[in-house]
Symmetry: C2
């Protein structure tokens, strides 16, 4: 079968279909869009039915529903579970959009709309790939299941329990997700690692009230001094996290991984120039991509205390606050890391300061061995279509649901992305490059045929 | 003459008069009270005329006017210049006032009103003391000048230039100010030192935009890390300011001064309990009163950067801010200190961080030798009236105008206060204890007769 010809023939029709889905403002974070989110789920049901999938249905959760569909007629063949999401990010600031976020517009070979690449556009490729196979071959080379949620952009609060409850229904040999990106145009990538995440808020209190710096300055603890001293104690002079035991469960970089990172041929100078930085900074002894891909972090995301207005206020503030997140790798456990940080903070509390810690989010790191045959087959499929074999990357971000699939269904997760890093995810003017739309369709067909 | 009898006889009348002045909401900080501030100046003109003073007049400045009056008929005798202010602090939060701030109310032997002690009530004592002397003796034992401003609560922006221009008109042998307080009830005090002040804002910038902590965390500078590291570098582990040369012009505590501080018999445990503190904190080797009275400080008054909302935001902030004030002593020069701090901050800038410094306020420290005969005579007057000799204190606060009088008119400044530390200056329910009102009148008469 010539799928290139097939997709070329149906291109207009496919794009019109996708545009109709992108026109639905399914913003899960904003309750005023509740009807729109549900409408996007219904649209999806119809699209899956039209593609020829079976058992298409809407499954309620405590939040937005999960859309499920399957086609299980390839006896003795592996089962692939496709995950994606039909909800999208908010669109603020609206004035920065060149065309309205929910009036999809194609220009310069790109499709502009909220959700164009994250994730409606990428998910749509899977639906159309399956539709093509069913139309052209009246059958699929694998068993396939779709499990599509509507709460990814609000941290998937209900999906893990949905996976637990429906473990058997969702059982598969691989989970396939297209919600990541190529390294750069023409260089396909398969993400083999995502960092975990944990977060905490720190509060420092000194006196029972703010004090006048004339009457008390120099003689009583100042919550801001305590805060900067305590926060500065969290890193050492080599850029390492100075919390006891923080690196206990962090694997050293293997020569194989180092080689994969080197293959990326990352240009640190270019990044510096783009960000307007005099210097990059991080843990001594690692390159930028190694730091992002394979090393854990402890980052201050916010600090505040005392007077923030114009001019001068001679106050000794009695409270100060910091917000911290860690990115985790290897076998680091978020609970354990939060405990270790809390111990550090309490045991390093400066004189006269009471420190309290509020532990918040917890997500495990994810990683998969690039030599897994399902990943190698994905790299083969990319090579076939792109003329270039996919590199195996590690992403610094956290997609907790990936780790949840891997852990709850106990199955390899293949992150096969077709976006590009500069397609304005979560920002104004989100778009999807249509040559990757085209190649994505072919790559998925190729992949399903190869496994 | 029995001035005790005289003041007892006129007490009702005096208090009614003061209450009428206190009823005028002369809040200099709020432009909607402009007419009230001017009305308070006019009230003052009438009161000075009624007291028998001459050359009473309103002198324009670029802001609120200065009220001047004199009585210069004591040939060969010293001249005393009385300074005070007719403006008051704002009254927020209004609901915390038990009686309205501009409806003066006497209860439990205290006069409650905004300005009751700061400074209308205390300044009023000088007017009535002079009035009493002129009525009873038809003459004054000294030459006297009044120079009363209406902008003290907004940092006296126009008074220094008024002093410069009117140097000769205002020439005197002593400046007498009642705008401070006793150590505690029954323990009179003469303040012989006020700390200077300088302030600066610090801004730190890293990348040209906030960055996502997943994609960049651990590989680029974080403005908050740079801020806490830089701010923590400003003090050493002994609580000393770690800026090169900061202590160059700070005199060591003399045995005489140490003795004066010891005389205060300050209870550090009581303060700790009042403030709800586990521990006091400051420069190693000094007591609380020494730290406040005789040592300089560098204090953070505010810090902020990044996310301050609820929940977690995985952001690497690209800017961070701190607001700093220093209290200065001895010969420390605010310009010089600001330069030294700037040098420290720039030379300690963490990797990848650009530091900028905005220098703001500058005020010199003030101090006077307690053995000055004018101060000794003031202590004598207190002893006569209170039955207890005044102690010589150093106040940690800054009243820049005191240093300005001392420097521009080149004359000793006698800080002879009658307030109490807990009379809610600048706070709701400001009040003046009337037994100190009574004793204040007598002490001033006594002082004018003795010099």
């Amino acid at each position: 079968m010539d799928y290139a010809a097939y997709f070329a023939k149906h291109r207009e029709e496919h794009l019109e279909e996708l545009k109709s889905w992108l026109s639905i403002p399914s913003i899960s974070a904003l309750s005023e869009h509740k009807e729109d989110v549900l409408k996007a789920a219904e649209w999806l049901v119809e699209a899956l039915k039209k593609a020829g999938l079976e058992n298409v249905g809407i499954h309620q959760t405590n939040g937005y529903p999960v859309v499920y569909a399957d086609y299980l007629h390839a006896e003795g063949r592996p089962t692939v579970l496709v995950y994606g999401h039909y909800d999208v990010q908010p669109v603020d600031p609206l004035p920065l959009w060149k065309t309205p976020p929910f009036e999809p517009d194609i220009r310069d070979g790109k499709l502009f709309a909220r959700g164009a690449t994250d994730d409606k556009g990428q998910l749509f490729l899977h639906i159309k790939a399956v539709e093509a196979l069913l139309k052209e071959e009246k059958d699929l080379p694998v068993n396939i299941k779709f499990c599509i949620e509507g709460e990814e952009e609000i941290t998937s609060p209900n999906l893990p329990s949905f996976l637990e409850v429906n473990k058997e229904k969702l059982a598969a040999d691989a989970v396939l997700i297209s919600d990541t990106s190529l390294v750069e145009d023409g260089v396909p990538a398969i993400c083999t690692g995502l960092r975990g995440l944990c977060s905490l808020d720190v509060a420092i209190r000194t006196a029972n009230t703010d004090l006048h710096s004339g009457s008390f300055g120099g003689g009583v603890p100042n919550a801001l001094h305590a805060l900067v001293e305590l926060m500065a104690s969290l890193h050492d002079e080599r850029g390492r996290v100075a919390v006891d035991g923080f690196y206990d469960d962090v694997p050293e970089l293997s020569p194989v991984m180092k080689e994969e990172f080197d293959k990326l041929n990352f240009k640190e100078d270019k990044l510096k120039a783009e960000l307007g930085l005099d210097a990059l900074y991080g843990e001594e002894g690692y390159t930028f991509v190694e730091r992002i891909g394979a090393r854990p972090t402890l980052e201050l995301n916010g600090i505040y205390g005392g007077f923030q207005g114009e001019g001068t206020k001679t106050v000794l503030p009695c409270e100060a606050h910091a917000k911290i997140t860690c990115r985790l790798v290897g076998k680091q456990n978020p609970e354990d890391i939060l405990d270790k940080i809390e111990r550090h903070l309490l045991s390093h509390a400066p004189t006269g300061a009471r420190v309290s810690v509020d532990k918040r989010e917890k997500g495990n790191p994810f990683s998969i061995d690039p030599t897994d045959h399902l990943l190698q087959k994905a790299a083969d499929a990319y090579e076939q279509v792109y003329g270039k074999r996919a590199v195996f990357t590690k992403d610094g971000g956290s997609i907790p649901i990936v780790e949840a699939f891997s852990r709850i269904l106990n199955v390899p997760v293949v992150l096969m992305g077709f976006g590009l890093p500069n397609e304005n995810l979560h920002a104004p003017n989100e778009h999807f490059n249509l040559h990757n739309f085209d190649k994505g369709l072919l790559t998925i067909v190729e992949y399903l045929k190869r496994i």
